[in-house]
């Protein structure tokens, strides 16, 4: 057996547990942001306190996807490592895992952009996009020979 395999599996397990917790946090934060958006839509304009609260909730709603994008990059990197150095029998499974992770990172980066309503220059969005790109590159590296 590839001697790094147990260590890679342990990291994959840690990433999985973090992702599950973040998915729940993301859902909660988005529910709160959505409720704040509805309140804002129902009320008259010009309430500075309410606008600030809404902004804070949208920021929180972007924080979880930002971390999920980073986890996607990590999962893709781990899959790339397993695909390159692990048992060749499972290379296609590793490539599939990397592609799924890259998809997750891309979706998460998109949510960061939408939730923050920001342009390309925003540092958080840049970080999310960098995670997306890293995940894409890791997946592409594994998928290439099969194309």
């Amino acid at each position: 057996m590839w001697d790094e395999a147990p260590g890679v599996a342990a990291q994959a397990q840690a990433i999985k547990e973090r992702a599950a917790a973040l998915a729940q946090a993301d859902a909660r934060a988005w529910e709160e942001a959505l409720a704040a958006l509805r309140d804002a839509a129902d009320g008259a304009g010009g309430d500075a306190g309410r606008d600030f609260e809404l902004e804070q909730k949208l920021e929180r709603a972007a924080a979880a996807p930002l971390e999920i994008a980073a986890l996607g990059a990590d999962a893709a990197a781990l899959a790339a490592l397993a695909g390159e150095r692990g048992d060749g029998t499972y290379r296609a499974d590793a490539a599939a895992a990397a592609a799924l992770a890259a998809g997750g990172a891309r979706a998460a980066a998109h949510l960061v952009q939408v939730n923050l309503g920001v342009r390309a220059g925003d540092a958080r969005l840049a970080r999310a996009r960098a995670s997306e790109q890293a995940a894409d590159e890791a997946a592409a590296h594994l998928l290439e020979p099969a194309r």
Partner: protein, 187 residues
């Protein structure tokens, strides 16, 4: 003097018996979390009760260390002292917990506590670089990218470095290290 954290329990006991104050500090540092975990996780004591037991256990360790026959059996001895004091605290406090409930909860949790403690001891034997990278990934939840940026390491090597450190940790836990730690430092 040798770095205290590298001492075995047996050596630590010998130094304590010889009156080395640094060794006493190391003993308390090494076992404080263990004792506290037994109190809080094993016996569900309140923070206040746990604090009382904690003080009492280390006072007893200090005054009775000479009665410990096998210096290498420091941990089970401390565990036994702690369990007894926890039971005293429960019975003295009029808590409504049956002996069976306590025994069941304790048996399960003690296994986890012992396992966690063994991991902590094994981690302490790893190189600084390994301890750091494992702490960043597993305890601080840092991403590979953050680790790479903060440590100045190529990002593509982080997962592999962590895997190698975990292998060393496993070898240490299984007691089958072929080369002494430090002869091949992870960086």
């Amino acid at each position: 003097m040798t770095t205290p954290s590298t001492l075995s329990d047996e050596e630590l006991v010998q130094r304590c018996r010889a009156g080395d104050p640094d060794a006493w500090g190391e003993l308390v540092e090494r076992y404080s979390r263990y004792v506290y975990a037994i109190c809080v996780k094993g016996f569900r004591l309140s923070e206040e009760d746990a604090e009382d037991v904690f003080q009492d256990v280390f006072a007893r360790v200090f005054t009775r260390l000479d009665t410990l026959r096998d210096a290498a059996a420091l941990r089970p001895w401390i565990a036994q002292l702690t369990r007894r004091r926890c039971l005293d605290a429960i019975s003295g406090g009029g808590k409504e917990q049956s002996t069976a409930e306590i025994a069941t909860a304790e048996a399960t949790d003690m296994e986890e506590i012992d396992e966690a403690f063994a991991v902590r001891e094994a981690v302490a034997t790893l190189s600084d670089a390994c301890r750091d990278i494992l702490d960043r990934f597993f305890a601080q939840d840092q991403s590979y990218r953050t680790i790479s940026e903060e440590l100045g390491l190529p990002s593509g090597t982080i997962a592999s470095r962590i895997a190698r450190c975990l292998r060393k940790l496993r070898d240490e836990l299984e007691g089958r290290n072929e080369a002494p730690e430090g002869s091949r430092r992870e960086r």
